[in-house]
């Protein structure tokens, strides 16, 4: 039960941040992907199955707020969530630099999967990709690794 509350809270926080950032700046909302950060965080903490399920939920929420093919973000986030959980069990991704690379590669992968799916559905959608989206992995990885680092520090201090 506690797991579900934590996860629900995590998704809601990601959604709130997504809403606030969108209101502050249109461009900033494309540079930072809070939903994927939530997926990665829980996939690392709880395992690949949780990662995949959270990826599905948060991806579909994101899809419902954008005018594209409903399910593309859901599918790409499901794959990324599963992969994040799987890799985190095999490699220690806690050091800051490794954590940054881990998030960067995962978000790049998610972007690539989305582009591939859109290309598969209609090549015209690919021409819509803005430069902001291509910078998303870097910006989100910087922010994500910093947040995860601070969360770990906070946990250590509080324990």
């Amino acid at each position: 039960m506690r797991n579900f509350v934590e996860i629900g809270l995590g998704i809601i926080i990601a959604f709130l941040l997504y809403t606030i950032i969108g209101k502050i700046s249109f461009s900033l909302s494309q540079l930072l992907n809070f939903f994927t950060l939530a997926v990665i965080y829980f996939a690392v903490a709880k395992g690949e199955l949780y990662g995949a399920c959270i990826g599905t939920v948060s991806g579909l929420i994101q899809d419902s707020f954008s005018l594209g093919v409903f399910g593309v973000s859901g599918l790409s986030k499901t794959l990324i969530g599963f992969l994040a959980g799987l890799v985190a069990q095999k490699i220690n991704i806690l050091p800051l630099m490794r954590n940054f690379l881990f998030i960067f590669v995962l978000i790049s992968g998610e972007t690539a999967v989305s582009i591939f799916l859109y290309y598969f559905i209609s090549a015209e959608y690919v021409s819509e990709i803005t430069p902001f989206i291509l910078f998303q992995p870097l910006c989100t990885a910087v922010l994500g690794s910093a947040i995860f680092f601070l969360l770990r520090k906070f946990k250590v201090l509080s324990s």
């Binding site: 809601i12 959604f15 709130l16 997504y18 809403t19 606030i20 969108g22 209101k23 249109f26 461009s27 909302s29 494309q30 992907n33 690949e48 199955l49 995949a52 399920c53 599905t56 579909l60 929420i61 994101q62 899809d63 419902s64 707020f65 954008s66 005018l67 594209g68 093919v69 409903f70 399910g71 593309v72 973000s73 859901g74 599918l75 499901t78 794959l79 599963f82 799916l117 559905i121 015209e124 959608y125 021409s127 819509e128 990709i129 803005t130 902001f132 989206i133």
Partner: protein, 281 residues
């Protein structure tokens, strides 16, 4: 069998989720323009949250401003701004109408139709995948919003149209800069008609203009009304470049008249505008 399921549990769940998404994506192909009830449900559940967050921050900001600055002055200013906003809308539409209307009776009809129909609202969200595709506004089906209602900016320039899903207090607007949008337009000077679509990068393309048709750079484009969605004579954009190549049609780039940086408030014209002629009888 049970052992196999236990061992392969993770893979089975993952493939079930992937299969679910593929079915979801495939279902949209035959649906075409029809609404997706699953998407509508998720949108209806989460859009009030988004609305609430924006409302909360808006209110906190308002209290702060009202308290620390001369709130009485600001209140008056706000009222005047709103009034000016509506008057500007009315003025811009009336200017266009007056250019075209011949009889005084038609002007009167036009004014009464137009004045009743304005609905001002805030933009509460944008499309995270591409900011040039859609926006979310803080009015929904409870305010009488329906699919294909026309959305304009503060100056009366065309922004787009309402599309599904529409929740009780929120709705999605497809921008004219979306590649899937289509607006029937006509150039102001040469009266060349074509279809305006978005390029997905903040600009639009005017399609189906033959090389023999004369259009010039800087010329304004207005809605023609032929699509039976947008009323006639709403300013849409300005031609910024024209290329004539080997293809059958000219390649015309259009800058939309509305500004993305100015999309905090929009105007919706409710009611079936197909019956209203902005050009007069």
């Amino acid at each position: 069998m049970r052992l196999f399921l236990k061992e392969k549990k993770k893979a089975i769940i993952l493939f079930t989720l992937i299969f679910f998404h593929l079915i979801l994506i495939s279902l949209q192909v035959p649906l075409g323009d029809k609404e997706n009830y699953f998407e509508r449900t998720i949108f209806s559940v989460f859009s009030p949250v988004q609305h609430g967050v924006i409302y909360f921050f808006q209110k906190v900001g308002d209290i702060w401003n009202d308290y620390f600055y001369l709130w009485e002055v600001q209140k008056m200013n706000k009222e005047m701004k709103e009034e000016m906003f509506l008057l500007r809308q009315e003025n811009s539409q009336l200017r266009r109408a007056l250019q075209r209307l011949k009889a005084e009776r038609n002007v009167q009809n036009f004014i009464s139709n137009l004045h009743e129909s304005f609905l001002v609202t805030r933009v509460i969200g944008i499309d995270a995948r591409n900011i040039y595709k859609s926006i979310i506004i803080a009015k929904g089906s409870l305010d009488g919003l329906k699919k294909n209602m026309v959305v304009l900016d503060k100056q009366g320039h065309l922004i787009g149209r309402i599309i599904d899903p529409i929740s009780l207090k929120e709705a999605k607007v497809q921008l004219i800069t979306d590649i899937d949008s289509g607006v029937s337009v006509v150039s102001q000077e040469s009266r060349a008609g074509g279809v305006l679509t978005g390029d997905g990068k903040g600009n639009c393309m005017l399609k189906y203009i033959y090389p023999t048709q004369k259009v010039s750079k800087g010329e304004k484009l207005l809605t023609s009304g032929l699509d039976h969605i947008f009323p006639t004579a709403i300013e849409v954009g300005k031609i910024v470049s024209i290329q004539t190549g080997a293809s059958l049609f000219k390649r015309i780039k259009v800058k939309p008249s509305f500004e993305f940086s100015d999309l905090d408030m929009v105007v919706i014209i409710p009611g079936d505008l197909r019956g209203i002629s902005f050009e007069g009888e």
